[in-house]
């Protein structure tokens, strides 16, 4: 079982995609260029302080609002290992899976955890925080297939007979 430990960034309910990546920066050439501005309307200091392997823990309806796929892409580009939220808005959810960003649904952790604390994720099984364990419910098979392929681009490449098997 894949297992990793990371430091928590704690966010609230209804974190919309305008907060994750403001429209102002959407026409920049690459997602890397956009990274410094991630979460800037809410927490301008945050993007610069995120380290590879950190984990975002948030409340309900994470990623609501605009369909901008730069939102999950920029989270991934910042080095965030996974997002754990109470629930997700549907377009963000699809976009994240299609980009191979791991999303975990759990409504309890956000109430218990403190920012800066470390948590351990056992993928597909559970989250460990202090002496507590939080279960992870499984994703539907068609989504696991996309994640297994390494995202939708890779899945389509496979369909077209190109790229690595």
């Amino acid at each position: 079982m894949e297992e990793f430990t990371g430091k928590v960034w704690l966010l609230g309910d209804d974190i919309d995609t305008d907060i994750i990546m403001p429209t102002e920066y959407l026409a920049m050439k690459t997602v890397k260029d956009m990274c410094p501005y991630a979460f800037s309307p809410l927490r301008p200091e945050m993007a610069a302080q995120i380290h590879e392997g950190d984990i975002i823990v948030a409340g309900k309806n994470f990623g609501c609002g605009s369909s901008r796929e730069q939102a999950p892409e920029v989270i991934k580009a910042l080095g965030i290992r996974c997002v754990i939220a109470g629930s997700y808005a549907r377009i963000f959810f699809r976009n994240a899976i299609n980009n191979g960003l791991l999303l975990i649904e759990n409504a309890d952790l956000v109430r218990d955890v403190k920012e800066g604390d470390e948590i351990t994720v056992r993928v597909g099984d559970s989250i460990l925080y202090g002496d507590k364990t939080y279960p992870i419910s499984p994703l539907p098979q068609n989504l696991l297939d996309i994640l297994d392929a390494g995202g939708l681009v890779r899945a389509m490449q496979r369909l077209n007979g190109i790229g690595k098997e």
């Binding site: 309806n61 369909s67 796929e69 549907r90 377009i91 299609n98 681009v153 077209n160």
Partner: protein
């Protein structure tokens, strides 16, 4: 057992008798829309996936609206990239300055009742106003559709919203949808379909229904549908006879014995003018509660409320009067067609005489890129669909979302006002 409206559209699309909420099915896509912000990403992903042709180039519509006219040097790159993609793959449906994508998709006849359409924008839900299933997706999925013509979806549960009776004269469909959003909350319909029924909606214009479908994504909905009627047929260029004789179109309504997850029921007479207060779309309060707050700017426009009836409602209030001297009022018709109609009807002249600035159709101000962005502590009453932190300028701008009537009265007095 009967079916809800969304179940009928999906079942018909995949050639089945019925579908069940929660089921994952692959649908055949009738139309797709890509706008200027995302076309470079769609183009890159499409080629990276290894596709060499679009499954049906006539089913793609490319619309420049978010960046029109360009406000940053980088914007022009999006037009060049879009033009090159259209030329290379034979896309003929390209609109370079005709209006906002969600207005054009039904106005120009690209989406009809019963269709399934996807767009790279969350407000793609707008086409539910004509009884089409349409919803927003990201650019990677769009690239996949362009190659395959298909997309997987989860059949949604349906929440029925029933409103009967006559709305008070100072209440618009915008107030109705804002109140519903306040009651359902920002995640109250996540992954679900909303179905609007009742005499209040029967009496509404297609334009008013469009305002409602447009905002259903603000409570997380996958779509917000109205059963097509004679008004829909006329708007979509379907003759009354063809509409009556088309068994599928006639079937497009929720069955009495369909399974609804939840039913919300309202009396039209109970609605009052409301506003979404900073900085969440579900933070709904009666306008009377916030009346008197001085404003710096009023925005009338967007794919939510930039149609002829919206501009006409404001013109009726402002005719022969002047807006408050310290208020900047920006009016943006949703499309070139609406702009011309409003011009010919004297509406733009009335609004300009009253002190409003009239701009070309586009998304600039609504998405905070251009054409009237605001700064710290400024207050704006706006008719668009989002008041998120930083949406129309800095994160300290106070955005109040309201109806065109509330916006016009507010411009007139310079303070948030209940329309009379």
């Amino acid at each position: 057992m009967g079916m809800t409206l969304i179940e009928k559209i999906i079942a018909h699309n995949i050639g089945r008798e019925s579908v069940t909420p929660g089921e994952i099915v692959t649908v055949n896509v009738d139309r797709v829309m890509v706008h200027d912000i995302f076309i470079p990403f769609v183009a890159d992903k499409f080629e990276e996936m290894g596709f060499s042709k679009i499954w049906d180039p006539d089913k793609m519509v490319l619309i420049y609206d978010h960046l029109v006219p360009a406000s940053q040097l980088d914007d022009a790159r999006h037009f060049a990239k879009g033009d090159a993609f259209a030329a290379k793959y034979g896309v003929k449906n390209v609109h370079r300055s005709d209006g906002i994508c969600h207005q054009l998709m039904t106005e120009a006849g690209y989406v009809k009742p019963g269709d399934i359409a996807f767009g790279t924008d969350s407000h793609t839900v707008t086409y539910g106003c004509v009884g089409a299933f349409s919803t927003g997706i990201g650019y990677t999925e769009m690239a996949g559709i362009l190659g395959t013509g298909k997309l997987w979806i989860r059949v949604p549960e349906t929440i029925k919203v029933e409103v009967n009776g006559t709305l008070p004269a100072n209440v618009s469909s915008k107030d109705v949808i804002l109140q519903i959003l306040g009651d359902l909350r920002a995640d109250g319909a996540t992954y679900k379909s909303l179905e609007f029924v009742g005499s209040t909606f029967d009496a509404m214009s297609v334009a008013s229904r469009m305002t409602m479908s447009n905002m259903t994504v603000e409570c997380g909905a996958k779509c917000g549908l109205f059963a097509p009627d004679e008004k829909t047929a006329e708007y979509c260029g379907i003759s009354a006879e063809d509409f009556k004789n088309d068994a599928f179109l006639q079937s497009l309504k929720g069955d009495p014995d369909a399974a609804y997850e939840r039913v919300l029921t309202y009396r039209a007479e109970d609605f009052v003018p409301v506003a979404a207060c900073p900085s969440q779309v579900d933070n709904i309060h009666p306008v009377s509660e916030i009346a008197g707050l001085a404003v710096d700017q009023v925005f009338l426009g967007s794919c939510t409320n930039g149609r002829l009836e919206d501009l006409a409602a404001a013109a009726d209030i402002l005719r022969g009067k002047k807006i408050a001297p310290f208020v900047k009022m920006i009016v943006t018709p949703a499309s070139r067609k609406i702009y011309r109609e409003a011009l010919e009807a004297g509406i733009l002249e009335t609004l300009a005489e009253a002190g409003a600035m009239i701009t070309h159709p586009g998304c600039g101000l609504c998405c905070g890129r251009a054409g009237g962005i605001l700064t710290d502590n400024e207050v704006v009453v706006a008719t668009n669909n989002r008041n998120f932190l930083g949406r129309m300028g800095t994160s300290k701008v106070q955005i109040y979302l309201a109806s065109p009537k509330t916006a016009a009265w507010t411009a007139l007095t310079g303070r948030i006002s209940v329309p009379e």
